[in-house]
Amino acid sequence: MTETRLPRWAGLVALPIVNILAALLLSGLLVAAIGADPWQALLVLLRGAFGYQEAIGFTLYYTTNFIFTGLAVAVAYHCGLFNIGGEGQATLGGLGVGLVCLYADALPFYLVLPLALIASTAFGAAWAVVPGILQARRGSHVVITTIMFNFIASTLMVYLLTHVLIRPGQMSPESREFLPHTFLPFAHQALAWLGIPFARSPLNLSFFLALLASVFVWGFVWHTRWGYELRVVGANPQAALYAGISPQRNIVLAMAISGALAGLLGVNEIMGVNHRLLLNFTAGYGFVGIAVSLMGRSHPVGIVLSSLLFGALYQGGAELAFEVPRVSREIVVVIQGLVILFAGALEFLFLPLLRPFVKAA
């Protein structure tokens, strides 16, 4: 383990940046192989992500999702758990939001909103707590059980949207649209109330919710005794027993918080953007959350930054596919895969490159 002991700047900043650059470089080569100009592609991507108001709105809208799922992965990680069930938990969170917006729409917005928040976190948490309890009490490996729960969630959602919640007389598996007063305000609407004009985009107030969640995770994990206990369990379960900290309770707690955070994705997608329940709104955000958390070193600040990176990639990639027809949108997925590979599985591949600088420091 001595090889991982690095100065803070190297481990927290330099290595992740080198890893991203490696992923981007390889992606650039791929773009060139496809027959497009990688430099031009990069410029299009950057402009598409940040070049104008609408683009920024889209970028931040994607960023919101990544923050939720990245935080979800990070909290579990601090307790020594690998939650790859973000997809399923977000699906259930969205279901919770959808049910509130469909069935409690007689209530005014200021009651619908807290109900939706409670429902999304509770549904997401519930979907994560079951694998958590099975891990804590029966030793069932949470990686495998959360994968299985993703598939179960997806099957459940298909059933509900094809047979129960589907809007009558309609073919596509979607619920009816919610009543407008239950929509979470868009950023351009909110800004308009303040007299600031802003281009229309899916960005909505759940972005602030994501930032609040980041602050919450930071405070909880590092500045409360419950967060302390959670980290002890993650770092050394034996020491936890020695200190009278229950690993079982903390595993369940960590999974609950993790699932709740993933569930909040549903607020953004269902209540903020789509305004109806539909299939596949999680669109892989749950998985990419793992990359986000890895890149962000499981710290909220890092997670917000890497979410922004992935948000920009998503939005810029869409623009890229539009402007450069040779490149399809899936280039973004490839880049994500490469980032996970380099920043996660091959984390220390480029360590020898950094060594001379580390010695000098």
Partner: protein, 562 residues
């Protein structure tokens, strides 16, 4: 505070100079630590022409800043049992790992039966006739004995023939060396002693002429150890060479022909076993007189607050996860102002007993009372009742190595109002608290933000001790307080424990180091096979008596008088 004693502890006069010496038997009185080479030996008398089974010349190995082996030279004669003794970290295991091809020496050479060999990988060691029995067995638990034996030497693409062949060989080896094991048993179901036999069989099956055993008795019951020694004796009679690495002097005296003493990576002495004594070896190992008689006054138990024991354990039994009863109906008390030591061979239930008292393990039955009140709850609840605990293995339990020192400094006390408000931790108070403890216990470097794993063993132990003693507990449980701790820190830690006793606290000490128990404890309980087999007043204890009791025999009772 640094060790005031010289490294060589008075035996180092000859360290720098070369002296001719004869290879064998007849020079027990020569100054130890002298480097020699066979060339010089041959030049000497020229009597001994049979080359040693193994010879290491000027082996040097560094791991970063740690100089694990310094210019080690060593010769082991064929057909003998050669002991290598030294404290933890003296470099014994590193040396043997070099011999087995796990590490490459930075300098030096290895000769097998007089022929220079390059051993870069275990396979080359095996080919050279070297077999190794590690302290932690390298067995595939779900495999049968036979499958484990043939692994790596299957002799063909299919294993059926190898298994049949091994079965025959095993029968022969069992006959020759008293090494009976059921060849079809699944290894996971075998006792530790039998698993060790499988390791020995593995080596012999590979044609080992030289067998290295690393701390082989640390996990054995005395009976199993006896059987092991009979096996080793049989091996020697059949002409095999055995190297026994241990820190238990009794074993060296009982079984070896010759012994090499290592300290801090160096060979400091070599002796003919029958010409040396345990006391001399101990002194050589540690570098000075060992029976560190910590100056302490007589205990005055109960003087402060007379009455019942501060810690009372009644009829306690502990069953482990696999259903084995590790602690059996144990009862004892520790009074205020005394240190009670529990002696025993590792693995006789001491750890489980300690963990049960500390609330880490659930007891199957029995009660624990602290200051008269029934103790209940988990480790944290017990801390609130005045019980502190320095665990046996600080890296596994006492600290969170990945945490900064100040975060480890509140482990178990993190919900104390001094460190946390209703919701938020008071980081500033925690860091200040840690810094104060570091000053008080002379922890170096005194940096509360440094990762816990960056401190040396002694400093880590001081941090744990500071945390546990610092709360002024009524009862302190201490396990292996000086394991892997440098000499300077050992003395310091011992003084703090005595001071705690003198302050009227009850201390329960568990250690596998008899010296430590004898010098610290006021009363000694001996544990064997989960039971307390007897109690001895410290001033009436000696190694022989305790040793017998640790083997389950109390010579003072007529029952086991034989």
């Amino acid at each position: 505070m640094s060790n005031p004693l010289p490294l060589w502890g008075g035996v180092g006069e000859g360290a720098g100079e070369f002296r001719l010496r004869r290879m064998v038997q007849d020079a027990p009185d020569l100054i130890p630590g002298v480097k020699h080479t066979p060339a010089q030996a041959a030049l000497g008398e020229g009597v001994d022409v049979i080359p040693p089974a193994i010879e290491l010349r000027h082996i040097d190995k560094r791991f970063g800043a740690v100089h694990a082996n310094r210019d080690v030279s060593l010769a082991v004669q064929a057909g003998t049992i050669h002991g290598i003794v030294g404290e933890n970290g003296a470099g014994k295991s590193t040396l043997m790992s070099i011999l087995y091809g796990f590490y490459q020496a930075d300098r030096g050479e290895v000769l097998i039966r007089g022929v220079k060999k390059t051993i870069a990988r275990p396979v080359q060691a095996i080919a050279a006739g070297i077999g190794m029995v590690f302290q932690h067995f390298k067995l595939v638990e779900p495999f049968t004995v036979l499958e484990n034996i043939v692994l790596g030497v299957e002799g063909g693409k299919l294993i059926a023939r190898a298994l049949a062949h091994a079965r025959g060989e095993l029968a022969r080896l069992a006959r020759d060396y008293a090494l009976e094991v059921d060849p079809d048993a699944v290894v996971a179901t075998l006792s530790v002693g039998l698993q060790q036999r499988v390791e020995i069989l593995k080596a012999l099956y590979r044609g080992a002429e030289i067998l290295i055993l690393d701390e082989p008795t640390s996990v054995l019951t005395p009976q199993e150890a006896d059987h092991l020694f009979r096996i080793l004796g049989a091996l020697k009679r059949q002409g095999k060479t055995v190297i026994l690495i241990t820190h238990k002097l009794r074993e060296i005296m009982a079984i070896t022909d010759r012994v090499t003493v290592m300290r801090r990576g160096e060979v400091v002495a070599e002796r003919e076993t029958r010409a040396t004594t345990q006391e001399e070896l101990a002194e050589l190992m540690v570098g000075r007189k060992v029976l560190l008689q910590v100056s302490k006054g007589a205990a005055r138990p109960g003087a402060a607050r007379p009455g019942a024991g501060r810690l009372a354990v009644e009829d306690l039994s502990v069953v482990d996860a696999s259903g084995v009863e590790r602690v059996k109906n144990v009862s004892f008390t520790v009074r205020a102002g005394e240190i009670v030591g529990i002696a025993g061979v590792a693995g006789n239930g001491q750890s489980e007993l300690m963990e049960a008292i500390a609330g880490i393990r659930r007891a199957a039955k029995g009660t624990v009372r602290i200051s008269g009140g029934a103790a209940h709850g988990n480790a944290r609840d017990l801390r609130r009742q005045g019980l502190a605990h320095v665990p046996e293995d600080r890296r596994r339990m006492g600290l969170v190595t990945a945490f900064a020192a100040h975060e480890s400094a509140i482990l178990g006390y993190h919900d104390d109002p001094a460190f946390t408000g209703p919701i938020l931790l008071d980081r500033r108070a925690i860091v200040a608290h840690c810094a104060a403890q570091m000053r008080d216990f002379d922890v170096r470097p005194p940096d509360p933000h440094l990762a816990s794993e960056s401190f040396s063993g002694g400093n880590q132990q001081k941090m744990v001790l500071a945390r546990e003693i610092g709360r002024d507990p009524e009862v302190l449980l201490v396990g292996q307080p000086t394991r892997g701790v440098d000499i300077g820190a050992i003395e310091y830690i011992h003084r703090r424990l005595i001071a705690l006793r003198d302050a009227g606290k009850a201390v329960l000490l568990i250690s596998v180091e008899l010296d430590e128990i004898m010098s610290l404890a006021d009363r000694i309980l001996v544990m064997f096979d989960g039971r307390i087999v007897g109690e001895v007043q410290a001033d009436k204890a000696d190694e022989r008596l305790l040793g017998l009791m640790m083997a389950g025999i109390d010579p003072r009772t007529p029952r086991e008088a034989a």
